[in-house]
């Protein structure tokens, strides 16, 4: 049964989702306007997943993210100014402009980085979880990855290690039905990635990834287990990415009707309805929240536009702890 969630928490979750949506929408415009270099993978449509999971996480908890990382970072408390400036490649960005969209991180906030390598996260998540366990903490790690990433060998190795050592990780599959252009039916013989939990004798559950409350509930169970030393779980969230795989992708591989159908399942209005029913928020409240967040996003754009580029000599910094080495 669903535990009663405090209004404050519900509102925070709603704000997280809206922030992701508005941030990503703005990023999409900026990319189209040629302001942002490199590859940009947006999280629009999948906001409920990161939000529902990260709503449980505290400062001592970690996440590992993916190439599609903005949503995870925002949900875990990432700073919009530093995120946006990083997308611009400015020195005020999270990574001083060295990382870009695929490498934003904030280790102090427990964000072990977006990751340009599909399947890069599970082994690192297991490692961070081992670090927690070794030091006797009750932290957990949430490891996000896609449906297609579940075919990478590292997924298997990470889950196996976490299960045999009962490490506090929750593995969160964002099943948006595609790996770039390849539909799930063409990349694996199963329709529920959660079925793979069996291979490690850990719980595996499927949830509606567009229902933030469902995600919240499932993640809560798994995290409780993890904090209690009972080991990892696998949660599969069925969702959909509205945009192309990356900005600029013409998406020739999926029918418009499919996209339209999923856009009708938009997680944000759905949550709004629930919140209003619960009396947590009114239409006016929603408008005010959207306005406030939209201003924050604009402020982040302004901050980024006005920020300086990295100085050329900074290219050599940050390769090694303790200063650069002679080679």
């Amino acid at each position: 049964m669903t535990e009663k969630i405090e209004n404050e928490k519900l509102l925070a979750m709603y704000k997280s989702m809206v922030t992701i949506r508005l941030f990503e929408t703005r990023v999409s415009e900026l990319f189209a306007a040629g302001k942002l270099p490199g590859f940009i993978h947006l999280y629009i449509g999948e906001e409920a997943v990161a939000t529902g999971v990260c709503a449980h996480l505290k400062g001592q908890d970690y996440i590992t993210s993916t190439h599609r990382g903005h949503g995870h970072l925002i949900a875990k408390g990432g700073d919009l100014n530093m995120m946006m400036a990083e997308l611009y490649g400015k020195r005020t960005g999270y990574c001083k402009g060295k990382g870009g969209s695929m490498h934003i991180a904030d280790v102090d906030l427990g964000i072990l980085g977006a990751n340009g390598i599909v399947g890069g996260g599970p082994p690192i998540a297991a490692g961070a979880a081992f670090g927690i366990k070794y030091q006797g903490g009750d932290g957990v790690v949430a490891c996000f990855f896609g449906d297609a990433a579940s075919n990478q060998g590292t997924f298997h190795e990470g889950l196996n290690l976490a299960s045999v050592w009962k490490l506090p990780v929750i593995f969160v599959c964002e099943n948006n039905l595609y790996g770039i252009s390849v539909s799930q039916a063409r990349h694996q013989n199963i329709s529920d990635v959660a079925d793979r939990a069996n291979a490690y004798d850990i719980p595996g559950v499927v949830v509606d990834g567009n229902d933030v409350m469902a995600v919240y509930e499932a993640a809560g169970e798994a995290i409780k287990r993890a904090r209690a030393g009972k080991g990892p779980s696998l949660i599969e969230c069925k969702t959909y990415r509205w945009r192309g795989h990356f900005e600029g992708d013409p998406t020739p591989y999926r029918p418009k009707s499919e996209v339209d159908a999923w856009m009708k399942k938009d997680p944000i209005p759905r949550f709004e309805v629930a919140l209003k029913e619960m009396g947590v928020v009114t239409d006016e409240g929603i408008a005010a929240i959207k306005k406030e967040i939209s201003e924050k996003v604009e402020a982040a754009v302004k901050f980024s536009e006005e920020s300086a580029w990295p100085a050329l000599q900074e290219i050599l910094d940050d390769v090694y702890t303790g200063g650069s080495v002679a080679v």
């Binding site: 590859f39 020195r91 252009s181």
Partner: protein
């Protein structure tokens, strides 16, 4: 002659060889329905169908293993690893299986296969999508390593690769795909492996450059010509086998060598080229050998830093001045 982009020259090489030889098939991530992230395999799925142009799961070890197994079973796989940066998840199948099988089996195996992949910086793709790793492949006996710089070379070398009978790592610099156009014959042709190409004749200094850097070196040579400096630009085209002779002949003529590659220098292909000349053509050298490469850092994201990372014409000119001009500093 009609011109093609670098990407289209590769596409044509694949298409023509697939028409000619039913044993050739393609596999990789998003190479089919999507036509490849950079469009190199565009249209092949439509022409040859999904039996011959295979979209794979994200399982790079399985992709290379598939090439190895199907090659041993009589096919000629052309598999794509989307970015060379991903090779770390699947290198074993190349290093210990593809490259070594023939030798380990006492010669009793034949493994024709091509592994195509893209490398290099210039698109703001950052540290995990912009590396150059040719030296890793060079260091593996049993592999051949191809590094084309022009559409003409790309088509001819890829055709050779599909007929070579060995595991060939075919490296495509992503910056060249759309930006470099050149004349390409309509018909099929092969360019032999192990034959460097003198991309520009000169007499004062030899510049050996690869891939994207060939174009930078040519631009630098053009600028220097105005100052009366005559630069010979040599493009090895394949790193294994390696055409030492052409480079040594060039150095015998110019007495000076600058090596330009986009990779980091440390244990890179540039080191190998310099070391060979320092051994075999020492008596002809009038100056120390300079290398122009990326700094010893991961590839940075920000466009200003990325441009600083990529060896520039200015740095090439500076190195040429150094080997021509002043005594090598002690």
């Amino acid at each position: 002659m009609r011109t093609l982009t670098f990407a289209n020259a590769l596409n044509e090489a694949l298409r023509q060889e697939m028409r000619r030889n039913p044993k050739v098939y393609i596999a990789g991530e998003d190479v089919g329905l999507y036509g490849g992230i950079y469009g190199v395999t565009a249209g092949l799925f439509a022409e040859f169908g999904e039996d011959r142009v295979k979209d794979t799961p994200i399982s790079e070890s399985a992709i290379i293993g598939m090439a190895v197994g199907s090659s041993a079973a009589g096919l000629i796989p052309v598999v794509e690893i989307m970015f060379v940066d991903f090779i770390g998840v699947c290198m074993d199948q190349l290093l210990n299986q593809a490259a070594k099988m023939k030798y380990m089996f006492g010669g009793k195996a034949k493994l024709p296969m091509v592994l195509r992949t893209t490398q290099g910086a210039g698109h703001g793709a950052a540290a995990q999508h912009s590396q150059c790793l040719e030296s890793w492949f060079m260091h593996v006996p049993g592999l051949k390593v191809v590094v084309p710089s022009t559409p003409y070379d790309a088509k001819g070398l890829l055709t050779t690769a599909m007929r070579d009978g060995n595991p060939v790592v075919f490296l495509e610099h992503k910056y060249l795909y759309g930006t470099i156009e050149g004349e390409v014959p309509e018909e099929q042709y092969e360019i032999p492996f192990g034959k460097a190409d003198i991309k520009r004749q000169g007499k004062d200094v030899t510049v050996v450059a690869t891939m994207h850097m060939v174009h930078k070196a040519l631009a630098a040579a053009e600028l220097l010509a105005k100052d009366g400096v005559s630069v010979e630009v040599v493009d090895p085209r394949t790193l294994t086998p390696f055409d030492e002779d052409t480079i040594i002949e060039s150095v015998k003529k110019t007495h000076r060598l600058v090596v330009v590659t986009e990779e980091v220098a440390h244990a890179g292909s540039s080191a190998e080229i310099a070391a060979r000349v320092a051994d075999k053509a020492f008596d002809y050298l009038d100056a120390g050998i300079k290398r122009v490469t990326a700094p010893f850092t991961p590839v940075p994201f920000s466009p200003v830093l990325e441009q600083e990372f990529i060896p520039s014409e200015a740095k090439i000119i500076e190195a040429i001045h150094e080997v021509l001009g002043k005594a090598v500093p002690a």
